[in-house]
Amino acid sequence: MTATREKKLPNTIFTHRLTNGMTLVGEPNDSVQSAAITLLVPCGYSADPAERLGLASVMCDMVLRGAGSRDSRALINDLEVLGVERGESVGASQTSFSAASLAENLSDMLTIYADIVRRPHLPADQLDAGKLVCLQEINSIDDEPSQRLMIELRRRTYPEPWGRSSHGSEAGITAVTSTEVEEHLSRYYRPNSAILGVAGNFDWQQLLGQIEALFGDWQVNDVPMILEEQLDLGDAHVEFDSNQCHIGIAYPSVPYRDPDYMRAWAAVGVLSGGMSSRLFTEVRERRGLCYTVSASLQTQLDRARVLCYAGTSEDRAQETLDVTYAELLRLREGVLPAELSRLKARIKSGLIMQQESTSSRSGSIAREWYHLGRVRTLDELGQLVDELTGPMINEYLEAHPPRDFTFATLGPSPLELPREVS
């Protein structure tokens, strides 16, 4: 991608593996004032015991309630005085801690995060509060029909435990004890498979020294393999008293590390990327069926799905489902050269603009390492995009046509689901 080279993107990405298995990935960029970190700790909802769904989520709340020399209040206050913008989330296989601030605060920020993941107090007298926070989140989703629908769709399309809700269940959270939190934490918050991504204005050698000092003596821990099972899916329709009907369709795709991933991703981009994409054009622009319609490729380490969503009023829901489904089937016929060239333009400008946010870079490089065990520069990614051709995508679509669909609907009444044609 010559355009990116002319713009002198920082194209050096450093990596370092600590002896305990933790990986540090860094992309220095001296043209920005900020620095951001993304710390992926290998503790996801997939490791929650079946009768404790939501344990990882409770832990993610609890580790911020005091760590190292700081109590709960001092921890949050000190992060704020450092101007840290932070976020935490629990995914299938990891809990992600992200934080960004002015570059001069990076070192202090890292010291606090090392405490959070290694030396949390987990105060027993705050466990009820931590559980309540997690229960509040579950309750709030009850009032968000589109979110509920997507949770249901993911549950139906992935084998257990990969399609669980990251929020867990009311029963699971309520049952969590202090001892369980401590035990689960000492088992799963561990350096082997942990990844720290750092992007922004920093010196690599200095960072390396600090990370060795903060995490070098973190003890390795091995955990049991996750076993998959297929649960009884139940009815595809969730009855819900709302104006709109919410429609979800999912189908299998290839995960990030698959050599075909870029092609799969491009095919979904033709379906739903930009306002000239197929779903937006056919469902919204030509027919005015809904305000929101989209599809995205969601990837885990070993499996991936394309998840489509559309929300529309009850009397137009059937047509919306039918038109959306027809577009998924039509994708089997391949993509047009013009569609691909638009898509490439969007991806390439997106790659360059990603450089304008250290938060998004730290997350991207950490996740690249997770999926690939290496990190590509934006230059390399740009080249891969350049090399994509229509025939490559069409070949992929021929071998992996959208099929094996899973449906979920939520609204006042069920819809007639398409019977699959192969």
Binding site: A3, K7, L9, S31, V32, Q33, S34, S72, R73, I76, E80, G83, V84, E85, R86, A100, L102, G130, K131, V133, C134, Q136, E137, N139, S140, D142, D143, E144, P145, D241, Q244, G274, M275, S276, S277, F280, T281, E285, R287, G288, L289, C290, Y291, T292, G311, T312, S313, S341, L343, K344, A345, R346, K348, S349, I352, M353, Q355, E356, S357, S359
Partner: protein, 410 residues
């Protein structure tokens, strides 16, 4: 960073913050029109028109518009508020002229009747979608209750009835006056070639007519009160509050923003420690929003219906304490650190600077650099916060609650 500005003969202004080291350009048309400029018979027309702007021009079909935006790899969108309609795009610098060509062209849309009828369906779906989501229309309701018949109380979306009944000619009439050359401007940020931009805008927009459009700014007298709206199908109870606050042109707005951060930021604030950290509520926050001639504090609380009255009392109690005792040096220091870091972090994206440059020009016709904003935040004293508390008490507010509660427990 360099600020540049230029005005065409027809009154169309161009403002830009040029940054040689940026990777992209953010470009937008900012139109000084929104819900507050509407009348009852066209309620929702600003937002509907925002959708119609993408539906084609004499030179481009709707498909062309979408396709050409995507061909430039643009990240683009538009939004409508109570007082502005903004169309924006981020592109790589080499596409500055290409993106301006599309944006300028769609500012003169065809407003064809068949497109109008089709897009009306999309708008009605959007209205339905919001009606299903918290706060279930209460954000509009609380403005009505607080501002009465004042234009700021108008709904951006309109209603199913007003949008359903609207005719394309009404929209065309509204467009003529509101999208006049002197009622909008072009803003840009990032790696902008400003000299080229002047020529590019001149050649495409130079023939647009001015209209001496005015916005009515009647004084308002806000009401206070408490309203409970039952919604049996909800799970959570939602409480919204609106109180008067410093307006866009009021220098006290910086103190108000810090006050809102200390009192009701989503982390580390008084509301956070009292209500969110112990898990009593799903969320509780206070934000400061600025409009022309009016400012508002907007509070939000959501929790289980059983706990709602108790949590509401806790929040009210915190408001009383703030009014009686003010805030501490430590709180102010913490809030300043947080706000300043946010200003710097967000400034790294030209798209964010575009909204900042455009927003300042909309509100005050002024340019403020990142350094100006940092200085203004730093300069705020506890005395100023105290004055804002006295002038704009958090306790003089309108409250609306919606959720499973049939009536508010005494």
């Amino acid at each position: 960073m360099k600020f540049r500005s230029h005005t065409l003969d027809n009154g169309l202004e161009i403002v830009a913050e040029c940054n040689e080291t940026a990777h992209s350009v953010g470009l937008g048309f900012f139109v000084r029109t929104g819900a507050r400029d509407e009348t009852d018979s066209v309620a929702g027309v600003s937002h509907f028109l925002e959708h119609m702007v993408f539906k084609g021009t004499p030179r481009r079909s709707a498909d062309d518009v979408n396709r050409e935006f995507d061909e430039l790899g643009a990240h683009y969108n538009a939004f409508t508020s109570e007082e502005n309609t903004v169309y924006y795009a981020s592109v790589l610098p080499e596409y500055q002229e290409g993106i301006l060509d599309i944006l300028a062209d769609i500012m003169r849309p065809s407003l064809r009747e068949e497109d109008f009828d089709m897009e009306k369906k999309v708008i009605l779906e959007e209205i339905q979608m919001y009606a299903d989501q918290p706060p279930f229309g209460m954000d509009d309701k609380i403005k009505e209750l607080h501002y009465g018949r004042h234009p700021l109380a108008r709904s951006v979306l309109g209603t199913e009835f007003t949008v359903g009944e609207m005719a394309v000619d009404q929209m065309r009439g509204y467009f003529e006056t509101r999208y006049a050359a002197d009622n909008m401007f072009v803003a840009a940020a990032g790696k902008v070639d400003f000299d080229a931009l002047i020529k590019q805008v001149e050649s495409r927009c130079g023939s647009w007519k001015p209209a001496l459009t005015l916005r009515e700014l009647p004084p308002y007298e806000s009401q206070n009160g408490f309203h409970c709206v039952p919604r049996p199908t909800s799970t959570q109870q939602y409480i919204l509050q609106l109180a008067d606050a410093p307006a866009a042109e009021d220098d006290r707005r910086f103190a108000a923003k810090l006050l809102a951060t200390m009192f009701g930021d989503d982390s580390g604030s008084r509301l956070y420690w009292e209500l969110v950290d112990p898990g009593l509520v799903e969320s509780a926050s206070l934000g400061h929003y600025e409009y022309q001639g009016a400012g508002m504090y907007f509070s939000w609380l959501s929790c289980s219906p059983e706990e709602a009255a108790e949590n509401f009392d806790r929040m009210s109690n915190l408001q009383d304490i703030a009014q009686a005792q003010g805030f501490t040096d430590q709180e102010l220091h913490q809030a300043k650190s947080k706000v300043k870091a946010r200003v710097v972090l967000s400034s790294e994206r030209p798209r964010n600077r575009l909204f900042n440059v455009g927003g300042n020009w909309l509100q005050r016709r002024e340019y403020r650099s990142v350094a100006d904003d940092l200085k203004a935040v730093d300069a705020v004293t506890l005395d100023e916060v105290w004055n804002v508390l006295n002038e704009f008490p958090l306790t003089r507010r309108t409250t609306v609650t919606i959720g499973p509660l049939e009536s508010w427990p005494e």
